[in-house]
Amino acid sequence: MNDAIKIRILQGDPIIHDVKNASLPKLFRGLPSIEDKACFSGCNKCQEVCPTNAIKLNPVSINLGLCVFCPLCEETCPEKIIHFTNNYHLAVDSKEKLIVIKQTKTVSPEIASEKIRKYFGKSLKLRQISAGGCNGCELELNALSNVNFDMGRYGIEFVASPRHADGVVITGPITQRMTKATEICYEAVPNPKIIILFGACAISGGIFQNSKEIQRKFLEENKIDLFIPGCPPHPLTFINGLLDWLKNV
């Protein structure tokens, strides 16, 4: 018993109390900012180095759904136009909002509909589907339940059965061999239900976008409610995305 108390005291107070304004390591790469400066004429170095074709030029824009948040464009740009800020608030509710341009200072999802908030605002149970994820996203989703992030305090939890769930969180580019299972799992979730895409692979295929082994029809046929960019996204990006969307806090 004494030992147990000793271990409990060691735990201290590890929880992140203010999930909106937590400070992350200096080098953490969050929301990119694009400075209002002209590119060298003809320069397309950032576009050339980008491993996932996330960058468009004239004017410069970055697609957060494709971006794997590697530092290549930032370190390559001769004019230092692209810079990754520490801002981990990245979740959005539409594909259009994934595009970061010069004017973009922050991104956030629109507040969910009255119905969604009434049903899920205080309690949201999610079933996770790993469809080709490399286990990076899965580890970050698991981290949401640890003592640091403790997502359960907001009434948001992962459940074992899709029948108990209010929606699915998909990770990975959806491999050919997971298409059937993904459909069956989604079908088993009772209505109304939501779909959240977690990570670059799920949102756009990411680094696997040109693989012949993936099949993304499911995503075209169903409405996506929330996009969580990152490779993998930080747990706080997920929590804040949901809280902003559900206006829970």
């Binding site: 030992d3 147990a4 000793k6 271990i7 409990r8 060691l10 735990q11 590890p14 992350l24 390591p25 200096k26 080098l27 953490f28 790469r29 180095v49 980008c50 491993p51 996932t52 794997v68 948040f69 590697c70 530092p71 290549l72 990754f84 996770q128 589907i129 790993s130 469809a131 080709g132 994820g133 490399c134 286990n135 990076g136 996203c137 580890l139 970050e140 989703l141 698991n142 981290a143 003592v147 640091n148 992962f158 074992a160 059965s161 990975g172 491999t175 061999r177 997971m178 299972a181 799992c185 692979c201 990411g206 680094i207 696997f208 040109n210 693989s211 012949k212 082994e213 993936i214 930080h234």
Partner: protein, 492 residues
């Protein structure tokens, strides 16, 4: 010499491999295994010319890697299977058969590796089935109860006892090896970071070593040391995660959540070094992207000091609990002889008493100058696999503190040369699970011709299957967690 002998990360001429006639090839490989070598790959050199294959074998005693070539140009892709005599080749033969249509004659149990609904030997493949009174089958997956990767498990049980567990994977197959051949160098690093997201550094380490060997790039000592520090922090993080998982699976909440808290400290240390909690973005060809300045050194040291202090007390609490020990001890046993014959690697092998550690036996990077101790246990049960994690965390912490204190001065990036044409290299790295192998061949222009990856999970999934024999099915989650294998790394 009938086979080519190379070292880890040694550049060799692609034409240096002699392609022997089939029977001679078979005998050469048998002889090598007889003398204690272990198969690490069975693959064509050139994917478009599958009639010429190589068997790559590693000899842990002499630190040599043997490459034997076989010529099947007469059109008949058949050879007498080694697997009856050397069960370790079983899965490699299945893979070769699935990918290139080879028929290993008299193979004891040809099964699919990454495909479902396949036809083998002209018949649709069915799972192994046990028949008899009171026998029942349990099917699980591909989607499991927790937040984990997909895979299908078939248990043949008699009451609570598992007689056989067949593991059917491939759901995560994204075509990584093929993508490597088409990718540009920037994409290749991101790809290697995404082979198995829990072993980001391990796989990227192996990939960079391979490319740097092919381009004759010499790294600064400082860059080498920063790489190994990152690799060892990854080991600590995932070992803590494994211990937390084991505690969680026996319903022991306090240690489970404590290990979880310490893991956060470990991966946040990686984020302090390079911005990503998994070490993404740290590696580039020729060195590392981020230096360890004094501020980061202090952050990392402070975090690891807390881990060192706390993990001792938590380990003591967990491993002195009678309840925990009764669940861990003599559960999911893989004995040494069995582990050796099926070719287990890494953590699982060392828990069964095998001396297998790439860092000692095929040293690379900074391990060549700064050795780290290999730790083995003998019981091969869940206890050994959990306890070994605890012991390795201790040794790894000692190693990192040493390295940080004596960090060499110098640049962190070196000039990268051109990738050699018509060359090959075998790069082996000890990830936290075990031996990671990347084998690369280039064509006449220095473009990649074949990229073969072997995650330690490829060897060890069968170990989990064997651990479950005669074990209660209710112990499956615990056994599974004690191996903690990668689906993505296996499926590629």
């Amino acid at each position: 010499m009938k086979s080519l002998e190379v070292q880890n990360n040694q550049l060799f001429d692609r034409d240096a491999t002699r392609f022997l006639e089939k029977d001679e090839f078979r005998n050469t490989v048998s002889e090598l295994m007889q003398n204690g070598s272990r198969m690490i790959a069975l693959t064509p050199v050139d994917k478009s010319d599958p009639q010429k294959i190589i068997a790559v074998l590693a000899d842990s005693n002499s630190s040599n890697i043997h490459i034997a070539g076989g010529n099947f140009s007469d059109g008949k892709l058949e050879f007498e299977s080694w697997a009856n005599e050397f069960p370790q080749t079983n899965y490699f033969e299945c893979e070769l058969s699935e990918n290139y249509g080879y028929a290993p004659v008299n193979h004891p149990w040809l099964r699919p590796v990454r495909k479902q609904n396949v036809i083998l030997r002209d018949k649709p493949y069915h799972f192994f089935k046990l028949e008899g009174e009171e026998v029942h089958e349990v099917a699980v997956g591909p989607i499991h109860a927790g937040v984990i990767e997909p895979g299908h498990f078939r248990f043949q049980c008699h009451g609570e006892l598992v007689y056989n567990l067949e593991i059917n994977l491939g759901y995560q197959h994204r075509g990584v090896e093929k993508l490597f051949l088409r990718a540009n160098p920037n994409q290749r690093i991101i790809l290697s970071e995404s082979i198995a997201g829990d072993t980001t550094i391990g796989h990227t380490f192996a990939h960079c070593n391979a490319i740097e060997s092919l381009s004759q790039t010499q790294l600064s000592l400082r860059a080498e040391v920063i790489r190994t520090i990152a690799a060892e922090i990854e080991r600590i993080a995932m070992h803590l995660s494994g211990l937390g998982g084991a505690a969680n699976d026996i319903g022991f909440a306090l240690p489970a959540s404590s290990y979880g808290r310490l893991r956060t400290l470990a991966i946040n240390s990686l984020a302090a070094i390079c911005g990503s909690r998994f070490g993404r973005g740290l590696f580039l060809y020729g060195g590392v992207r981020f230096d360890l300045n004094d501020e980061i050194k202090n952050t990392v040291t402070d975090n690891l000091k807390i881990i060192q202090n706390d993990v001792h007390q938590i380990n003591e609490y967990l491993f002195s609990s009678v309840g925990a020990l009764s669940r861990f001890e003599e559960t999911g046993i893989v004995k040494k002889d069995l582990a050796q014959s099926v070719g287990l690697v890494g953590l699982a092998a060392r828990s069964s008493g095998l001396e297998e550690d790439v860092r000692n036996q095929f040293p690379y990077g900074a391990y060549r100058y700064n050795p780290i101790s290999m730790i083995t246990l003998s019981t091969g049960d869940v206890f050994a696999r959990a306890r070994l994690r605890a012991l390795e965390i201790d040794e790894t912490l000692r190693f990192i503190f040493d390295q940080i204190e004596t960090l060499p001065q110098g640049e962190i990036k070196s000039e990268v040369g051109n990738v050699a044409a018509n060359a090959g290299v075998v790069s082996i790295v000890e990830g936290w699970r075990g031996e990671i192998v990347h084998i690369v061949f280039t064509d006449g222009n220095g473009n990649l011709l074949n990229y073969k990856i072997k995650d330690p999970s490829f060897n060890n999934w069968y170990g989990l299957s064997l651990a479950l024999r005669e074990t209660a099915i209710s112990d499956f989650p615990l056994c599974n967690k004690s191996f903690d294998l990668s689906y993505a790394g296996h499926d590629l």
